[in-house]
Subunit: 134 residues, 2 copies
């Protein structure tokens, strides 16, 4: 899976702070600055997954991720100010948010990827969806 | 007249950039930082007046200034991002804006002050309102 990340840097913002917000959520990123936009790419979704679990927001995240699927990818925003504090929040904030795109690669299935990233829970415990389906 | 100015500095913002936005609009400011808020005070409204004239927004400004009078003062917001570019814009922006308070001092009349700051115009030319009233 490829993760594409982009975030605007508003005139009164500090581009390093915006980049740090991104680095709080994604590791191993390649970064490019293009005027007032930061573009990043990563293949490492581990910290994002950890945050969903530690913040106990797996089901809410799954809904957002699935709702925004188009073809082999899903696009959504996370809150830039929350990310700066190391927290995941799926409300696009007043600064425009950080735009994320999770793209399934050749041979991958976007629905399966999202199941792994944000499995369903019951009473806070992760359930085996495939078993439930039977 | 006393001008009180305050602006929040959001986590991804640079406090110096926010201060520069304020300095583009007001000269001779006294500044205090309190955690994530910048408080400033000035008695110099000349650049603000100049900008209203050079941007030809006297009537729009007068409406905003008068609409928000409470007692001897008027409170309103200007756009922080526009201010950073040296422009006056009375739309509170997505960063929360810069909050302004113009306070009439002992012996001053807030309505007269605002007439001087933002006189009415007709076809872009400043008119003498007192004459018009007769």
């Amino acid at each position: 899976m490829i993760i594409k990340i982009n975030a605007k840097v508003k005139p009164t913002e500090d581009s390093e702070k915006v980049l740090n917000a991104i680095k709080n959520i994604f590791m191993d990123i390649k970064t490019e600055f293009d005027e007032n936009i930061i573009f990043c790419e990563s293949k490492n979704v581990s910290r994002f997954k950890e945050l969903l679990r530690s913040q106990a927001i797996l089901d809410a995240a799954r809904n957002v991720l699935e709702r925004n699927i188009i073809g082999n990818r899903t696009k959504f925003y996370i809150n830039k100010q929350a990310a700066y504090s190391g927290l995941l929040n799926f409300d696009k904030d007043i600064h425009g948010g950080i735009k994320l795109e999770f793209i399934a690669e050749e041979g991958e299935d976007i629905l399966k990827l999202l199941k792994d990233i944000a499995p369903r829970t019951r009473h806070g415990v992760i359930i085996d969806e495939d078993e439930e389906d039977n």
